[in-house]
Subunit: 208 residues, 2 copies
């Protein structure tokens, strides 16, 4: 733990900061950046407005902190999933599984994350978008590599460009997460990753 060497005061400030972030995450994910005021965040976190500004330069900075940290969590977990497993199919399975787990552990931020990564982001002036996108693109490249390797080793058929396959798998998992987000009971994210993977892995057409 990195708190080990921190003074009591420093730990308290870190804790306060987290309180503010938690309050802000809840509000932003309910109503979106523009429909949440700093006063609301102050109220919910039980600090004064002025105190918020001691911790964050401004509203945008507060929002960025949330998104950047969360995007990092997501991308790190997924990159590790792709690194740790052996074998292309196992890597894909792990990707689908871990993505479900990590996203479902962070429901309230997922909406914000989607908003930022899907070009529908009109929240931040500029830059954040790019920042996250680059990390995201790196992850896609990693995934592309898995498909390319599978094809090269003749384990996969080249049914599409590796990059397109990567984008597709990412988009499919997003779609399932989106369904789950809307109606968790009606559309649970599948426990078995093959429910999603089969859509790519098995052929729909009867005759080849």
């Amino acid at each position: 733990m990195k708190d080990a060497t921190l003074s009591r005061r420093e730990r308290e400030k870190l804790w306060q900061r987290q309180e503010m972030l938690t309050a802000a995450i809840g509000l932003f994910s309910e109503k979106g950046f523009h429909n949440v005021s700093m006063l609301e965040i102050a109220k919910r976190s039980e600090f004064a407005i002025g105190t918020l500004y001691k911790f964050f330069k401004n509203k945008e900075d507060l929002y960025r902190s949330i998104i950047v940290k969360q995007a990092d969590t997501f991308h790190t977990a997924l990159t590790r999933a792709l690194n740790e497993e052996d074998g292309e199919i196992e890597k894909l399975r792990s990707y689908v599984k871990i993505k479900g787990a990590v996203f479902m552990d962070n429901v309230s931020v997922v909406r914000l994350y989607f908003a930022e990564t899907r070009g529908a982001s009109f929240n931040i002036k500029a830059g954040l978008d790019k920042e996250i996108r680059e990390e995201y693109e790196l992850l896609l490249q990693k995934l592309t590599g898995v498909f390319a390797a599978g094809i090269q080793k003749k384990r996969f058929q080249k049914i599409a460009e590796p990059y397109h396959l990567a984008v597709s798998l990412d988009s499919l998992t997003n779609a399932f997460l989106h369904l789950w987000l809307e109606a968790p009971d009606e559309h649970p994210y599948p426990d078995d990753p093959d429910v999603i993977l089969n859509i790519i892995c098995k052929g729909l057409l009867v005759e080849p």
Copy 2:
């Protein structure tokens, strides 16, 4: 044409309304609902602010008009694509093709449409979301029906639930449109619908 029986004045008002909408579409799709002011829309459309309010109840109403009309265009075109063709595979091909065509004809609204249909919409208080979602769900049902029919006729293998297949195809086309939106030259939306369809239709795995 429905203008046939309208007076010159009425046609002019319709035209003026369109001018306002066009200006608004451009601005909204560049900067999003909350980062565009009525004054800006007035300036760009070369009307006075007051005039905007003669045509639209308020800013939200203006935004709704754009989204609802566009969503309707999209859904109508796609539903027709699924109705007109014969044969399941041909229906799917038509869906992918028409979706590309219609969306690429309406670049600037596509971002807004995506924002509204993907749960990342924090623009409108409430309702619009639902309004569009229902139409969208109907389209998905139609698409589900195509997959279900194909499976029933033993033309398709049941690699996943028909509804999941529908969601998947929709999500894949969106992903390709998204790539194109970001970098039209680098990632053109494929002319041949099979580039997208193969991802579902052909099996990735070598041994079945």
